[in-house]
Amino acid sequence: MPAMIELEQLTKHYPGRSAPAVDSLDLTIAEGEIVILVGPSGCGKTTTLKMINRIIEPSSGIIRLQGEDVTRANPDHLRRRIGYVIQQVGLFPHQTIGRNITTVPRLLGWSQQRIDDRLDELMHLVGMDPGTYRDRYPKELSGGQRQRVGVARALAADPPVMLMDEPFGALDPISRERLQNEFLRLQEEIRKTIVFVTHDIDEAITMGDRIAILREGSTVAQYDTPETVLAAPADDFVREFIGSGAALKRLGLARVRDVELGQWPTSPIGSGREAALRALASSEHGSVLLLDDRRRPLRWVRADELEQPGSLERLGVEVRGTVEPTTTLAHALDAMVGSRVGAVVVVDGSGALLGTVDMRVIMAAVDTMRTDAHEQDREEVPSR
């Protein structure tokens, strides 16, 4: 991937303070990636972000955008090429939603027809009905809706780069997760280069293609994919910042489709008791999974339960809480712990059995991730 943004020896000195807020930062951000700047408060991550569109002017160093040195370009023209989303959103309260979103196209002097078309497109993109919301004012919207408008305003003139300063930080946890997921889906379509600041490592792991963990003076402690950062933290600072539960966080990144599923003895419910007992006898498991005629799992039945009288439809426990290949391992683990048999059934889109996830599968996955990360780490060391 070609570099979209290059920061070279970027430094910010605030008058009256001895240590620079940002100290000779070198960072390259590839086109189409979401790069998260994350670190403790006061580490200079926001200052770094705001120097990219020069809301804060750097003391020294170079900012390159698409290869072009923009350190001394006209800042207003520069900013019209960079979408900017801030935590407090900053919608213009005296203007309608429609006017807010079309701010940059109007500054750029687009034709009215083009502006109207773009407005409709953008509102659909962020999931807001133009007819309902176009003529409303910001104060009539909820926090989540306001930030959707904020994102639409930043995207209005289709800038190649977006800067986002804790964009979902002021939202309640439910809205935040919704907006994070919506934004990731949106990104699949728009493929922008995004620099995203947060202090929340979990948000960084969810949102980032790459994470730059910064310590004081905006010094990069580690710059890598979330998987590698979690599996092979560069030093104690990174390890401490990730905090406890790194293994669990990693499970949130891996999907069920990425691991080798366990196989459980199965028997079609129509084939009767004998077939089920035979299937059980030929495996080491203590129970059998009964399937319907389209291989959809119905019930877990233990050997001793098969001895009891009654129809097969009533024996054992019903299969509940199945997962799909796109489910994260963290969710699969949750479902597994909640099940009575210590395993969760994986089904495809039509509900047919693909396999199971149990503790052995999870442990094997964790093992693989750890090895992969270490190998990748070893490969990268000589090139640094």
């Binding site: 569109n53 809301i55 800042p75 207003d76 023209h77 520069l78 900013r79 019209r80 900017y84 801030i86 407090q88 959103v89 900053g90 919608l91 213009f92 309260p93 005296h94 203007q95 309608t96 701010t103 940059v104 500054l107 004012y137 910001p138 104060k139 904020g150 305003r153 930043a154």
Partner: protein, 191 residues
């Protein structure tokens, strides 16, 4: 009187916009305008008479404009500084220059406060303007002065009272008119 208010508003608004970013200029401007307000109106008229070398309408307008400055400048400054910094930063972030930001974002948001300043000035000026006739200008004070001139006649009190009530009435009407103006000229989004 309205001419004086208009001149005062334009000058006050420009002054407020010019100084609102720098704390020193800001307090200097507010102090000077406050000082002007302490000059008694009769003294102000006499002073302007000497400075401008003419009697009639001009010195009255200048005096009124000067007196109107303090509320207008102070409210312009307060209004502009009261604009949410996040909104200003967002305006900067979408690539609005300083001037455009001021005219299309900050001023409309500060507007209700600014107009309130003009309203206070308007009411204040009614009293000052009443004394305009003293230097040959127009004004409601005519009646009061007629009353004073014939202080011993039975009509004196009536004339002065009529003049005073007229002044009060004009003040009230102006106040109401500005309230309506504020409402009409403020965006629905910030009401």
């Amino acid at each position: 009187m309205l001419a004086g208010l208009l001149v005062g508003s334009v000058v006050g608004l420009a002054l407020g916009m010019a100084v609102h970013r720098t704390p020193r200029a800001r307090s200097a401007a507010v102090h000077v305008c406050g000082l002007i307000l302490t000059v008694p109106s009769l003294a102000m008229y006499a002073l302007l008479l000497a400075l401008l070398g003419t009697i009639g309408t001009l010195p009255v307008i200048v005096a009124l404009a000067l007196y109107s400055l303090l509320p207008i400048v102070r409210n312009t400054v307060t209004g502009l500084n009261g604009v949410d910094p996040a909104v200003v930063e967002a305006a900067q972030g979408v690539g609005m220059g300083r001037w455009r930001r001021l005219v299309s974002i900050e001023l409309p948001l500060a507007w209700p406060v600014v107009v309130t300043g003009v309203r206070v000035s308007a009411v204040l000026l009614v009293g000052v303007a009443a004394l305009g006739p003293i230097i040959g200008g127009p004004g409601l004070g005519e009646l009061i002065f007629s009353g004073l001139r014939v202080i011993t006649s039975p009509n004196a009190v009536n004339l002065a009272l009529m003049g005073t009530l007229g002044v009060v009435l004009v003040g009230m009407l102006l106040d109401g008119a500005f309230l309506v103006l504020t409402r009409v000229t403020t965006s629905r989004g910030v009401r």
